[in-house]
């Protein structure tokens, strides 16, 4: 594993900009806190021992390196490129989120802070943060939109069992973007002893850089594994994109390989034309703007008011996108596609039934786009899909998406039992 102390191609300029995106736009009260964080992170990433301690903890606690699986049945079915999957679902807590939170946890220990706060949409980042806090002995508060709490209650159950306080955000649209704002507000009062574990590669500098640094472990591993398995690099790499941390992480391993095409897959929801989606880059509906501490492409109206977003996958239901990805899009280094909820559910079924692998609904977006394109490639070409998380832990959401009658009658029976 290479220690990313040299300036990698995914690092921003010194002012936190990736091309024209990124930067730091926060209330003045956070100025010194962000300066402190930038200082601590700069010091940590120049210290080889820090990366080594991170890799070592991920190996002993989180199950890294995660494998790359060849999907022979799906490959045969599509009759084109050979399909490989990077298995971030096999991380402890079931998603790539563990990479980022454990890394930030180590940084919190270095900084001597005692409490962490985080926002969560689908709940996976909240569960990962609560797990890290339990492991490292930190106090933990998780902000979650009331709407998301309603649709992701099993994750709320686990966060509470792990000792976290879960705060329901009742403001605005009561989803992820409101939880982000609530978290920033908490931080503006509590920064002396509290670190905000931002869950994705968004927000003010240095968060996009720091999250990509920890998630780059995915791409670094995957590059070596693909060479070992296939004797070369993949022709295409697919990753779903909400905020973009799993995509930034796997893309980081291949940015210096221009022959590898990078494809980010956004939530097409009910169809771009319906307005109910979260596609900022694919479809061209997003526009540059500045909110939540950084400049990127947002879904917003002509007057700069953010639009409501929609996806069957709560983790992709976000108005902005990581500034690294916005820049890769602008420079033409990455291509962005969107897939609809219906395509996602079909891809999920196919993957379960043909390979015995259960991707999260978020990850199923990457599978759906890859399936759409696999047969147009030849059998001597390879594609790599990043499975950012596992679907079985989101059983309520997945069961809803699959619309399974047996499951519904089970829930009715269970509910009747509780009612007695």
């Amino acid at each position: 594993m290479t220690i990313p102390t040299e300036r990698p191609s995914w690092a921003p300029g010194s002012d936190g900009y990736y091309g024209e995106f990124g930067g730091s736009f926060t209330p003045e009260v956070l100025h010194e806190t962000l300066a402190e964080l930038r200082g601590a992170f700069d010091e940590a990433w120049r210290d080889p021992e820090f990366w080594n301690s991170y890799v070592s903890m991920m190996a002993s606690y989180a199950g890294r390196p995660t494998p790359v699986t060849y999907c022979e049945n799906l490959t045969r079915r599509f009759g084109g490129a050979r399909i490989y999957v990077k298995r971030e679902d096999l991380n402890h807590t079931g998603a790539h989120k563990a990479n980022n939170v454990m890394g930030q946890g180590l940084l919190v220990q270095r900084m001597g802070k005692k409490r962490v706060i985080a926002e969560t949409g689908a709940g996976q980042h909240g569960v990962a943060t609560a797990t890290m806090a339990a492991r490292l002995g930190l106090e933990c508060t998780i902000y979650m939109g009331e709407e998301d709490i309603a649709r992701q209650h099993p994750n709320v159950f686990w966060m509470k069992q792990l000792g976290a306080e879960v705060v329901a955000v009742t403001e605005g649209t009561r989803t992820l973007k409101d939880a982000v704002n609530a978290c920033l507000r908490d931080w503006a009062e509590s920064m002396d002893d509290t670190h905000y574990v931002l869950g994705t590669a968004c927000g003010p500098h240095p968060f996009p850089q720091m999250v990509t640094y920890f998630q780059s472990i995915i791409g670094q591993e995957a590059r070596v594994q693909m060479q070992a398995l296939t004797g070369g690099l993949p022709n295409r790499v697919y990753a779903c994109v909400g905020g973009g941390s799993n995509a930034s992480g796997i893309f980081a391993g291949f940015l210096d390989d221009p022959e590898v095409e990078l494809i980010g897959v956004e939530a097409g929801g009910k169809g771009i034309e319906t307005g109910q989606h979260a596609s900022r880059l694919a479809g061209g509906q997003g526009r540059p703007g500045i909110a939540q501490g950084y400049k990127t492409v947002f879904l917003q109206n002509d007057e700069g008011v953010m639009q409501d977003t929609y996806s069957v996958a709560a983790g992709l239901d976000y108005i902005g996108i990581g500034p690294l990805l916005a820049d890769l899009h602008q420079r033409g280094r990455a291509r962005f596609e969107s897939v609809t909820d219906a395509e996602v559910v079909a891809a999920l079924r196919l993957t379960i039934q043909n390979e015995g692998i259960i991707p999260a609904l978020e990850s199923s977006h990457a599978f759906a786009a890859a399936f759409r394109e696999a047969s147009s490639l030849s059998s001597d070409q390879t594609i790599l899909i990043n499975q950012s998380g596992r679907g079985d832990k989101d059983i309520f959401t997945v069961a809803d998406a699959l619309d399974d009658d047996d499951w519904k009658s089970f829930i009715r029976r269970k509910s009747a039992e509780y009612g007695e």
């Binding site: 209330p27 009260v29 100025h31 403001e171 503006a188 009062e189 909110a291």
Partner: protein, 262 residues
């Protein structure tokens, strides 16, 4: 080219007549544009000196729960830039106080710096407060502001180092908004806790007038600022007074505050 120190000059002239000025706030479109007009009439009748008109935004990260709700509901009600500037232009023609824009940078960015400043100036406004725009990102907007005689109002906070306060001081014009404590708007602030020392630090960093806001809620709080600050800033407490007491309660509340500035 207009007088670039217009806001400071206006505040200075008022400060010659009384020891402390009062700035109040409203979110345009909340609870309604008609209610906004009634609020402005009450402010003018009471003798308020400066008014912040907040353009509602979907991600108001520096605001507390009352204003977050107000922003959200104003947007739901369809409040637009046109509504905003109509209200501002009518108010600046009708009333004696100075008007400032308050809002978030994405609203400004979406309109463009030059057009934003031109429209503010046309509506008779004197400056703007954009809490999520740090001075190092504000060069283009500040240049446009100078051409239109507008003052960008910066915020200083107790968490700032003296070095940062000095940096903010170098960019300051109009007045400086000193945030009395950490956090967002809307919570009570204990003015005995280090506020005087903080204002001293701000005073070292700039010669423009100092306003103090965040958690100033009562006439007693305003009285406590005499001799410490030049401008008392009331935000959330005004909104709360309107919600609790209606137009009459609101008018009495403002009068009780202004009485402490005379």
């Amino acid at each position: 080219m207009s007088d670039t120190t217009s806001l400071s000059a206006h505040l200075g002239a008022r400060l010659e007549k009384k020891p402390l000025l009062l700035m109040t706030h409203l979110v345009v479109g909340y609870p309604s544009l008609d209610a906004n007009w009634a609020m402005l009439e009450a402010m003018d009748a009471a003798g308020v000196d400066v008014v912040e008109l907040q353009m509602p935004f979907s991600e108001p990260i520096a605001d507390g729960p009352s204003f977050v709700k107000a922003n959200h509901e104003a947007i739901q009600a369809g409040t637009s830039w046109q509504d905003y500037f109509d209200l501002a232009a009518r108010a600046s023609a009708a009333f004696g106080f100075e008007l400032l824009f308050m809002g978030y940078y994405n609203s400004v960015y979406a309109m463009g710096a030059e057009r934003f400043c031109a429209r503010l100036a046309e509506a008779g406004m004197k400056g703007f407060i954009v809490p999520d725009l740090p001075p190092e990102e504000a060069a283009e907007l500040n240049a446009a502001a100078r051409t239109h005689g507008l003052d960008p109002v910066l915020i200083m906070t107790p968490t700032n180092t003296q070095e940062r306060l000095a940096e903010l001081g170098r960019h300051a014009s109009g007045f400086v908004y000193c945030a009395a404590r950490k956090g967002v708007t809307g919570r009570q602030t204990d003015l005995s806790e280090g506020v005087a020392a903080f204002l001293e630090r701000c005073r070292e960093a700039t010669s423009v007038p100092l306003g103090l806001g965040f958690g100033i809620r009562t006439a007693e709080d305003v009285r406590g600022l005499r001799g410490m600050a030049d401008l008392a800033i009331i935000g959330t407490a005004g909104l709360d007074a309107w919600v609790a007491g209606g137009p009459e309660g609101y008018r009495q509340f403002l009068e009780s505050l202004v009485a402490e500035t005379l």
